[in-house]
Symmetry: D2
Amino acid sequence: MAKPLNVGMIGYGFMGRAHSNAYIKVNHFFDLEHRPVLKAICARSADKAKAFAEQWGYESVETDWRKLIARKDIDAIDICVPNNFHAEIAIAASHAGKMILCEKPLSMNGPEGQKMVEAVEKTKVPNMVWYNYRRVPAVTFAKRLIDEGRLGRIFHYRAKFLQDWTISADLPQGGTALWRLDVAAAGSGVTGDLLAHCIDTALWLNGNVATVNAMTETFIRERKHNLTGKVEKVGIDDACAFLARFANGSLATFESTRYARGHKALYTFEINGEKASIAWDLHDLHRLQYFDHKDEGKLRGWRSIHVTDHGGDHPYMDKWWVPGLQIGYEHSFVHQVADFLEGIAKGKPAMPDFRDALRTQHVCDAVLNSAKTGQWSKVAGD
Amino acid sequence: MAKPLNVGMIGYGFMGRAHSNAYIKVNHFFDLEHRPVLKAICARSADKAKAFAEQWGYESVETDWRKLIARKDIDAIDICVPNNFHAEIAIAASHAGKMILCEKPLSMNGPEGQKMVEAVEKTKVPNMVWYNYRRVPAVTFAKRLIDEGRLGRIFHYRAKFLQDWTISADLPQGGTALWRLDVAAAGSGVTGDLLAHCIDTALWLNGNVATVNAMTETFIRERKHNLTGKVEKVGIDDACAFLARFANGSLATFESTRYARGHKALYTFEINGEKASIAWDLHDLHRLQYFDHKDEGKLRGWRSIHVTDHGGDHPYMDKWWVPGLQIGYEHSFVHQVADFLEGIAKGKPAMPDFRDALRTQHVCDAVLNSAKTGQWSKVAGD
Amino acid sequence: MAKPLNVGMIGYGFMGRAHSNAYIKVNHFFDLEHRPVLKAICARSADKAKAFAEQWGYESVETDWRKLIARKDIDAIDICVPNNFHAEIAIAASHAGKMILCEKPLSMNGPEGQKMVEAVEKTKVPNMVWYNYRRVPAVTFAKRLIDEGRLGRIFHYRAKFLQDWTISADLPQGGTALWRLDVAAAGSGVTGDLLAHCIDTALWLNGNVATVNAMTETFIRERKHNLTGKVEKVGIDDACAFLARFANGSLATFESTRYARGHKALYTFEINGEKASIAWDLHDLHRLQYFDHKDEGKLRGWRSIHVTDHGGDHPYMDKWWVPGLQIGYEHSFVHQVADFLEGIAKGKPAMPDFRDALRTQHVCDAVLNSAKTGQWSKVAGD
Amino acid sequence: MAKPLNVGMIGYGFMGRAHSNAYIKVNHFFDLEHRPVLKAICARSADKAKAFAEQWGYESVETDWRKLIARKDIDAIDICVPNNFHAEIAIAASHAGKMILCEKPLSMNGPEGQKMVEAVEKTKVPNMVWYNYRRVPAVTFAKRLIDEGRLGRIFHYRAKFLQDWTISADLPQGGTALWRLDVAAAGSGVTGDLLAHCIDTALWLNGNVATVNAMTETFIRERKHNLTGKVEKVGIDDACAFLARFANGSLATFESTRYARGHKALYTFEINGEKASIAWDLHDLHRLQYFDHKDEGKLRGWRSIHVTDHGGDHPYMDKWWVPGLQIGYEHSFVHQVADFLEGIAKGKPAMPDFRDALRTQHVCDAVLNSAKTGQWSKVAGD
């Protein structure tokens, strides 16, 4: 029987649901030494916390995250609050000896993230950041293909994350629902929210980024603010595109926007190697496109691989249904919990931990700096 | 707080997992008056039942389904065993006053199904058959479009269910893992296993089938039998294709096989109406293809609708994540449980109930009869 | 310098244009011993013939096809008139010693086609039927893959030809523009017009059809007739679907209709073999879909092959542009002329000749017979 | 009867074939006042010129382009030679009063192009540059949709032109076949060869580019040179990516490379507007992807428009076959000749003329300058 691992979650929004669902499902599909227990949910509003606890089966409720952290019966803190609270909570939790599962991005910026890394490395608590797309089976599969050397020397990397939900000028900014549009809570716009995902995957698949050259734009310059009730300047970037050179010599383009009419969550990447190329797309996340130059000449073509096979060939998929039957977005979180628990059991942390996720902050910082200066910007080292 | 509805499940295979997952998840995402409780799992092997109970959180274990049915603390029986046991268990359960959730197909054939219908209608127990594909959001959405009259007069219906997992002659038949290849357990091959899905959807979307004309084939005529250890004649149909005329005057083609190299679970259907056409594909189940003749001439084209929008527009999707983030196969079962529970609360049964599912049996019977006689075969009425 | 081959064309409609274009282009792209010369165009209307001659560069005009056939300076007769004239003209042309290039279908029915075959085989004139889709590079490529044994034993063949241009009840039948809707001129509806293409390709790729079982439908039963000005019964089949068993043991479904809203000329076929599968689609005719079970398990997927490579690997494509740049519908006719001319030079006729095309008539006859009788119908042998 | 327009072509390579084919076909499909006559082909090698003349029906041969230009019986000069000869020939031809059809890019750089513009504007000869992709029907259709205001305010433009034919280090540079790899003949690598196409289309569809920020790379730094026989430094850019801001406030990314394994000629663009988005792809050039926010919410989806309809709705397509039957790459040249001839007849020049094409040179210059300096670079005005 698996050992309980008591989770205390802070925040109950979209990510609170995604994580809770993952904690509940993971042991039904994965054989693990540990079993997450939904011990406590913490939110400023007691009513909302109670409602959430009832719906998801949390055993208790807190309204002050410091009290949650102080509880002896909590093993791990899951941070699902806006970005501007990540550092304070994570550092306090690490000092309380709690494991930490922190939503992405790690922090508001690199220096803040650096402090978080120092805290968890000093206190030696297991820590992880929820860059869930690494665990979409097609993406994990891409990583394996690269590690097997199938792509050869990499020439090009390109990634985009396109949405269209902020085109209306009537949309306000700020508050619980729209904190992602409020620079004080989010730190940045699409750069920290969406490009951070693209960068995390890219660093994982293609190594370090050396230099970047970026432009940003805020198409709607003023929006009503939900906290003040007044029309205020918009501080976030609505769109960001940047050129990059990786340490391995490959060239890259990255782009994100919330003004790409027709795209809801179109995170795509493509990698062109000397020997093979791969491409992936979040809108059809269960497929990987693959082109192999080794194929007999006349039969070369992009393969649309339905990443649902069993027998250990397609990552994680032996845990689910049968070949041909797809899983969805939520499963990436289940996989990440499974890997986190396995990491604890084996003493080998699941990635990205705070230090690994800090690299993404450094790229984001360089991107925003370049957009401001109009110059190429070097990415800070580890 | 939702009222408990105690489930006793018989069988622990693939479908046992899919249903258990649905029972556990449903209340986290849907607001319902009832809450399924995993009360007991029943299997002939006590060890396997215990292991399943531990993994999924069933409170107790039974090895004799008659004992399960006799238990006072069980409200509903879920039948997840091979087809040849459906009738006996369902009839007994109905006499014990239990609600019944029965895996598809309803029965081995029409006459047997007729008895099951009579039993549940006499005992008035809520009953349902797990034709889960009706609750894939894109399929439910197709139904709504048809009901809104958007397609107009229907000319054509075509459906296929293509797999490739039995091409090897070395694959044995029968036993726990391969009962689908054993005619004694399954009743038929692709007709009852795969075409039954296609037929259920078709009857729901396009009304009754009047007549059919079918051919079947068994490509591998003998396989080792897991129960006897001997090479025995294969009694199932490996492939089946049929022509059909619907009561509404439309023409149809149906085909299923387990010998379509390259396809794992490619259930597809397309409907051509006077005003619009729709098409769907299980391999990318979150999309619906739609062509509307009303569109301005030069801008007409097949739309690839990513069925993930919110606000009640795309069926069930307001319960899940955000637009652009897809769900998967398992969610169709969650939706079916949600509808079943809502049906109980409102006294309006979720479809297909046994009577509704019996219509699919009648079509299957006519198909198999036509394949044998080489003649057009009329489908028995309700 | 290539030797002139003087062409006399009868008919100036859609196919007259497609063939003329092919005659003009062929020597610019193919190195051949012969060079088609547009010697004469024949049409009942002198005005229309002259206009066509001027636009396309025909040297002379005839209004009586018997005079054309009698001309000494004509080497080959190209028959582009409605089906009901094919036999009479072809037989007369063969007796006059002319080569014959006849539009498809060969004839109104099998017995008529038989006489045409006897005529050309007695007079030994080179003869060919314009089943142009064999020469779409992706289709020719499919044939090569099959001949190389890459698919192994064939289990399934399925073909469709879907259009939507006759859904309006206001569309009349008959006359120059709409003779395809007039059974007296066309012989049948979609069976001879569209399914004939599907059948020709199928016989070429998969061998003889043994038996068929068909249904046909005429959705609009009466239409105004352009020749009489009166509303008259529609004699053609608007839709036809049939089951078939090939001599090689594979099962097939065929379907055609002009009532599939959203499809203009969607000719598709798919072949499932033990070792590999292929699929093709006229709407994207430059691509072949290919699935190879030999591929490493985890990397298996349908390849979308852009059939535009050079070096002899992709049929005909070394004659055109550069890899990645697609050709279109008209090129299939250029290829067929090239092969016809090469056949003359080498004394090895380009297929399908009349005898080969007669097999398609036999299948069509069996299909229409089965639709009438409701019985399985055997296909007449060669 | 159409008036002859005597063409003298210089160069006989890939583009010589594409243009010749267009001259021959245009009057068969378009009703025009003029008719191109293949009067003379000019090449340094008399043998090659003769062979080309024989294959394509040119009436005469020249080996000195100055003689060709001096001929009284030549109305128009078609320049199909490497970029480094464009200016000299075009300026001389304009002084000789010849119309000029010049292959793209216009020139080696902006200042050189400026002289060409001055020459043709002074001599008032009709002039045009072969940016053929504007005349792919789907692209022309995109332009119409934009001009009709269907996209609204434009937020984003992105274009790529990806190839993979120079990955091998064994490929030499220079000479007749590979002048595109020789900086002395080509002026630049992918920037002038491929991005020039992307830029031309973008300027046409989205207006002027204000500023750019670029990076270039030469992956293979040395290659054997076909003219010297020695291994020499590669002077061209193998890959180029740039950020851009358009005058209309939209943001753009552009990228081109010959190192994108799996892509042969993948020119794609996508435009995101407030009201609608469009996307196009050269590998399936007969389709336009279109998303319209005006569509009823639940039915929104990207439409795949098969740009083959008639009746004037889909540009140029009423001239060709029937709906559903696609045309290919070569037809874009036929359309451009048709428009050029119509422009002459109506006294309204077909675009892009030299002045229009000069804008593309200015963007290319800014791109290459930015790549060298690492700074944002302003695009020179008209």
